[in-house]
């Protein structure tokens, strides 16, 4: 379970997350949406212990992220948006490191590593250094690293970034199965069709503040729009896409 109460994060005078409160129950795939700079990644970084909140409280898997950071970290899996990893290592070496940090038995870790890499079709290159990997292959390793220790809570920040269609399909199926097993999954993505299809609940934030929460259907009904994409556009005050495009093309013609 994930729970936040009045969560606030400020960078100097700029408020990235502004008194955000929400709750994600186990067995839920929770879509966490917002336009660029809305505070999604900052919230996730606070929940994973990468940043300290300026104010407010947050618990993950029943532990306070400030009071019990190690308990929290040993129970979470995280796919960062930045894709940060030690690329000079091979996939096997990187996963072995993550397994060691989570005190997994070496034999069990090796088996699980092979299973995950096989699932994503990169088992045959596991001893190759990741500097030679494509973006999608690195993303597959990051996802495998997030899952290798069977975490209770998953934070996925743009996890589909760079994945090929087959891997994306497998990953979405995997998420559904993990949710069925009772895992708590927080899913950040800009691909609203995917969010609409796989997330059981959705929270939309803008400028660090909560805008609306509900199922995709509830959000569409509340906004009087047919799709989540349209509802999202309305809630986050985006301009009419057709008009923006026309203005842009006109500006290009003038140059």
């Amino acid at each position: 379970m994930i729970e936040t109460e009045g969560l606030t994060k400020r960078y100097g005078s700029r408020t990235a997350v502004d008194g955000l409160s929400f709750r994600v129950e186990p067995g839920t795939i929770f879509g966490f949406l917002g336009p660029n700079g809305a505070g999604k990644s900052t919230t996730v970084k606070v929940l994973t212990g990468l940043l300290r909140p300026t104010m407010g409280r947050a618990t993950v898997a029943g532990f306070d992220v400030i009071g019990n950071p190690l308990e929290v970290k040993s129970r979470l899996g995280y796919v960062p948006e930045s894709g940060a990893m030690y690329e000079s290592l091979s996939a096997a070496e990187y996963l072995e490191l993550v397994a060691c940090l989570h005190h997994l038995d070496a034999k069990a870790a090796a088996t699980r590593m092979d299973e995950l890499l096989e699932l994503f079709g990169i088992l045959d290159v596991k001893h190759q250094r990741m500097t030679e990997f494509s973006k999608g292959m690195k993303q597959k390793v990051l996802i495998s690293a997030a899952l290798i220790h069977k975490p209770e809570v998953l934070f996925l920040d743009e996890p589909l970034s760079g994945l090929d269609a087959n891997a994306a399909m497998i990953f979405k199926e995997l998420l559904k199965k993990l949710a069925e097993q009772g895992k708590t999954i927080l899913f950040c993505s800009h691909i609203l069709e995917v969010v609409e299809r796989i997330c059981t609940r959705i929270l939309i934030i803008d400028e660090g503040k909560r805008i609306m929460e509900g199922t995709a259907g509830e959000i569409c009904r509340a906004t009087g729009r047919e799709t989540l994409e349209q509802a999202f556009g309305m809630l986050t005050g985006s301009r009419d896409a057709g008009q923006v495009t026309a203005d842009f093309l006109a500006a290009l013609e003038k140059v």
Binding site: L50, L70, S74, Y78, P80, Y86, E93, E96, L97, L101
Partner: protein, 545 residues
């Protein structure tokens, strides 16, 4: 045993072992990154070879002090000189390769959400720093230490004391620099952190280069062979003397003057470890990470692009001008690499004044070469390296996906460096020369010759490595290697060329003009050859991911 020690420190042994192994692998592999792209097969062998050759260079560098162990009567004196040398060199290497060795900002992004305590991270980093510095220190001090074992008959205790002094002094230097560097993190806000760190590194380099340059001047072997030193209070303020006291203790001098400095060395190390404890923790990595995420506070200069275009109006020329100018403004590493010439210049200038070698080459008749010429002549080569190797290399895809002429980009980057960096630098040196030579005509001709030679250096550098600007990954230790090679090999090139001019060319006006004309023609021919080569080579260049 090791597990027990690590557990005693309340550190997770399994995590420590995994993280230390990873850090060492990363150090080894990132040092080899540049070669990895060009030599895919047998890559790890190449990495080991590179490390071994680097260590051999360090052994040779330290070996030059070997005779001192034989010659000096006083083991305390020879120990102090040798330890000062190894401490200065270790500091230089740690300083230049600092960022990658001590606290990697990327560590926090990768390890921050893993269940690793700050204490475990600290001990891992400390292990990494100490392994790295120990290997360098040992290589530098290997020859003198071995000689301490045998120089006065077989004296294992003296050799062992020399070994301990060497290793502990190296560790002390590394920890001291860690403290200075990381202490800044506590005081400076993220928006200014990168800038302040680079200026601190810049200031420290004055001391490091100074130490390196002045130390050999203190070494008069014949005098030292007969000399022993009085352990005055002032002498004992020099940390190398604390560690050198181990040698005295092993050589059966066990008075208060030997025991107290040795105890001070141990206390200082304990204090450094204690102080470093908080500074290498994961939250410090967090601060460095935050610094890299926060944009730097700096005033806006809206006319930068317009100014860059005054001399560089062609398409590629303008692109290069904008790129290099902005990299200089925003890329701290590049800016510092360019500015690092200033401490060298000032130190060489100071030495020139001290040994009275700042004399007009038209009247010196081949003598009186200031080391300042070394800085002048090496500057273009150093600039070329800084302009090629960069952390911004992934952005070089733009050269390959636009219709820009890559050959022209390479050539204009050379021209930009010459016009905007080398010429202003030569003008500054010219003003210094004018003050000392008192003859504007001599200064003008001399600076013209130096400008042409600098341009030759730049042409050669581009000829042998016609790389697009900021397009090749920066390798760890690559900078230190190039600095060391510059410091070691530079004097031969500089003194050789200038001796010829001062001894023969400047003394004969006709010959002077003939040589000057010859140099201009040669430069023009070189430029043509360079263009042809660059055009050919850039056709086969590929983007380095």
């Amino acid at each position: 045993m090791l597990r027990a020690v690590i557990l005693l420190l309340r550190v997770d042994y399994d995590q420590w072992r995994a993280l230390t192994r990873t850090a060492l692998k990363l150090d080894l592999r990132t040092a080899q990154m540049g070669q990895a792209f060009s030599q895919q097969p047998g890559r790890s062998q190449g990495a080991y070879r590179q490390w071994i050759s680097r260590l051999l260079i360090y052994i040779i560098m330290g070996g030059v002090l070997g005779p001192l162990v034989w010659a000096a009567e006083d083991v305390f004196l020879s120990g102090t000189v040798i330890l000062t040398y190894t401490m200065v060199m270790t500091a230089m290497l740690v300083l230049i390769d600092f960022g990658a060795v001590v606290v990697s900002p990327e560590d926090f992004a990768i390890l921050g959400y893993q269940p690793v305590t700050s204490r475990t991270y600290f001990i891992t980093r400390l292990t990494n720093v100490l392994i790295y510095t120990s290997v360098i220190t040992l290589a530098l001090g290997l020859v003198p230490v071995i000689l301490f074992f045998f120089a006065r008959g077989f004296r294992p205790l003296l050799g062992l004391a020399a070994f301990c002094a060497l290793m502990l002094s190296g560790a002390g230097v590394a920890l001291f620099l860690v403290l200075i560097y990381a202490g800044i993190l506590r005081l400076v806000r993220p928006g200014r952190l990168k800038r302040v760190l680079s200026y601190v590194q810049f200031l420290l380099s004055f001391f490091i280069y100074g130490g390196y340059i002045f130390l050999p001047q203190l070494l008069d072997m014949r005098a030292m062979a007969r000399t022993s030193v009085d352990k005055s209070f002032w002498l004992l303020l020099h940390p190398a003397t604390w560690f050198a006291s181990y040698l005295d203790l092993a050589y059966r001098r066990r008075g208060l003057a030997e025991i107290v400095p040795a105890l001070i060395s141990l206390a200082a190390l304990a204090w450094l470890v204690y102080q470093a404890r908080g500074r290498l923790a994961l939250d410090y990595s967090e601060r460095l990470s935050a610094a890299s995420a926060v944009s730097e506070d700096r005033p806006k200069t809206p006319a930068a692009g317009a100014r860059a275009a005054i001399l560089f109006k062609g398409r590629e020329a303008r692109a290069v001008a904008l790129l290099v100018r902005n990299q200089f403004k925003y890329d701290t590493k590049f800016r510092m690499a360019v500015l690092s010439i200033i401490p060298l210049t000032i130190l060489y200038l100071f030495m020139g004044l001290r040994d009275r070698s700042m004399v007009d080459p038209f009247v010196s008749g081949g003598g009186g070469f200031s080391l300042l010429y070394l800085a002048v002549l090496m500057f273009p080569t150093m600039l070329k390296a800084s302009l090629t190797y960069s952390d911004s290399y992934p952005a070089s895809w733009i050269y390959y996906t636009t219709p820009a002429d890559r050959g022209r980009l390479v050539l204009w980057s050379k021209n930009f460096v010459f016009v905007y960096f080398v010429l202003p630098y030569l003008t500054m040196i010219g003003a210094v020369f004018l003050y000392y030579f008192r003859n504007p005509w001599h200064v003008l001709v001399h600076m013209g010759i130096l400008a042409l030679i600098s341009h030759f250096f730049l042409q050669f550098a581009v000829f042998f490595n016609p790389a697009l600007p900021f397009s090749i990954p920066a390798r760890k230790a690559q900078r230190s290697s190039s600095y060391i090679l510059t410091i070691f090999l530079g004097p031969f090139a500089a003194i050789g060329v200038l001796y010829v001019f001062s001894r023969w060319v400047y003394r004969n006006t006709f010959l002077l003009f003939a040589v000057l004309a010859g140099m201009v023609v040669t430069s023009w021919l070189c430029e043509r050859a360079l263009r042809a080569r660059v055009r050919r080579r850039t056709l086969s260049l590929e983007y380095q991911e």
